[in-house]
Symmetry: C2
């Protein structure tokens, strides 16, 4: 008899954990759970066949190319843009499960298809100081622990780029913040260590992504174009003339009104 288990140890583990020897419907249920767990584990396990990728996910810009508005402060983390660049994402299952929005039924269409990819296979994030905290400059104190509460949604190490390093922060749920005064290449080297072979996400904001693009360090990018004209703030596309030479680009529209653009490095 052929077995679905490659080794006796794995079969024994499956029998132990999922009662794989039981008969009838219950077995299929347990088996489904096993396969689902296996699939999740696989997708989060680095593949020995490829190098870790550097990825951008769900980064929103206005049609005039601004990734954030003007006047970012504690009360207005996105400046005068408010939540307008994020509104496509809030109803998605992925964002609702992160606790962003509880009032309505989660959406599960094309917006969710793109949103759901953000954390799969990711071993570390790199973010700009401005994404972590509302004010640039020296830390007034070290009480600020990010916008995301005690258990941030990242669940991996996160490198925060800052000219004012401070001791790392261990949060609940596997997230840790590491403060680094470094350029893109050096930050990426550190992130690769922390990610243990998994992919690296460049988490934004606009200037951080732009710096990594200018240094040609990004492999895959998901940009969401929101049909609003912000007029002022921080531009994503400046200084990136002929970026399209390095990437294949596909676009798809969503019933929510936004356009999902995917960029991936030309082979």
């Amino acid at each position: 008899m052929r077995t679905v288990f490659p080794t006796k140890e794995l079969r024994d583990e499956a029998v132990e954990k999922y009662h794989a020897t039981e008969g009838g419907k219950q077995t299929f249920g347990n088996l489904a759970t096993y396969v689902a767990d296996l699939a999740e584990e696989t997708s989060d396990t680095p593949s020995p066949d490829r190098a870790a990728r550097v990825r951008v996910h769900s980064f929103s810009v206005s049609i005039d190319g601004f990734g954030v508005g003007e006047g970012q402060r504690l009360e207005t983390p996105f400046g005068h843009a408010g939540t307008r660049l994020l509104e496509w994402a809030l109803p998605t299952r992925t964002f609702q499960e992160m606790g962003f929005h509880d009032e309505q039924e989660a959406s599960n269409g094309v917006d969710e298809a793109f949103a759901s990819r953000w954390n799969t296979g990711i071993g570390a994030e790199i973010m700009g100081r401005n994404k972590f905290a509302p004010k640039l400059g020296p830390w007034p104190n070290e009480e600020w622990r990010g916008w995301w509460g005690d258990n941030p949604p990242f669940h991996t190490p996160v490198i925060v780029l800052t000219h004012h390093p401070r001791p790392p922060l261990e949060m609940e749920g596997g997230t840790s913040f590491h403060f680094l005064d470094a350029g893109p290449a050096e930050a990426l080297e550190k992130a690769r260590e922390l990610a243990k072979g998994r992919d690296i996400r460049i988490g934004g904001g606009a200037s951080t992504i732009r710096q990594f693009l200018q240094a040609d360090l990004i492999d895959e990018m998901h940009i969401v174009v929101v049909p609003i004209v912000l007029g002022r703030g921080e531009r994503l596309w400046d200084g990136l003339e002929e970026l399209e030479q390095r990437f294949r680009i596909e676009s798809v529209t969503s019933p929510s009104g936004v356009i999902h653009m995917t960029f991936w490095r030309r082979g």
Copy 2:
């Protein structure tokens, strides 16, 4: 018996012109021709029920929002952008019929569906001086008659905005160029006279469209986002913060890679 003809005169004309009284298949063929002619005539005839609209068609911008590149000259009318902003349009039936591109079979999909709308119901165009001629400033002589040869594709009066007026030009095929030193509102008033109740097209370039948008004089707009980063040139979206408050916006992608965005004034 009910008749499809509202008056006896129209019925007699149809009988005369399309042999509408013949029997069998041929009648349907003739009737189809009649209906098609009627539809075309109707679409080009101003409707007494609505005011003439001010429209923009097939205006292309890069993802960083430039409508033309830097360095526009006689040899490079689109500056360093070359033909990259136009490449989606060249294979369409509409552009091929304008004589832009003869080498391949005309495309007839979504790009053509949008391209084909540009001239229907239009009675006049307004364009910037920079679209008409390669150099800004006083006319070195009056020999320049536009980029389009003796029979330009407009077939209507065209107002050319310039600080250096010159006598009008009558071209073949119904196109005439009228040189006017005026702001958007005054130019539009003049265009309405020339258009005799038909719609007005704002033909570009970027700064001309932007001025009309800033003066809130545009009713409908078709913008094509081309997935290239131009980096420099003339931006369309500057100074138009919250433009989306005035328009409904829809986007659709094309297999050619571009995104067609349509804007129409909120009711």
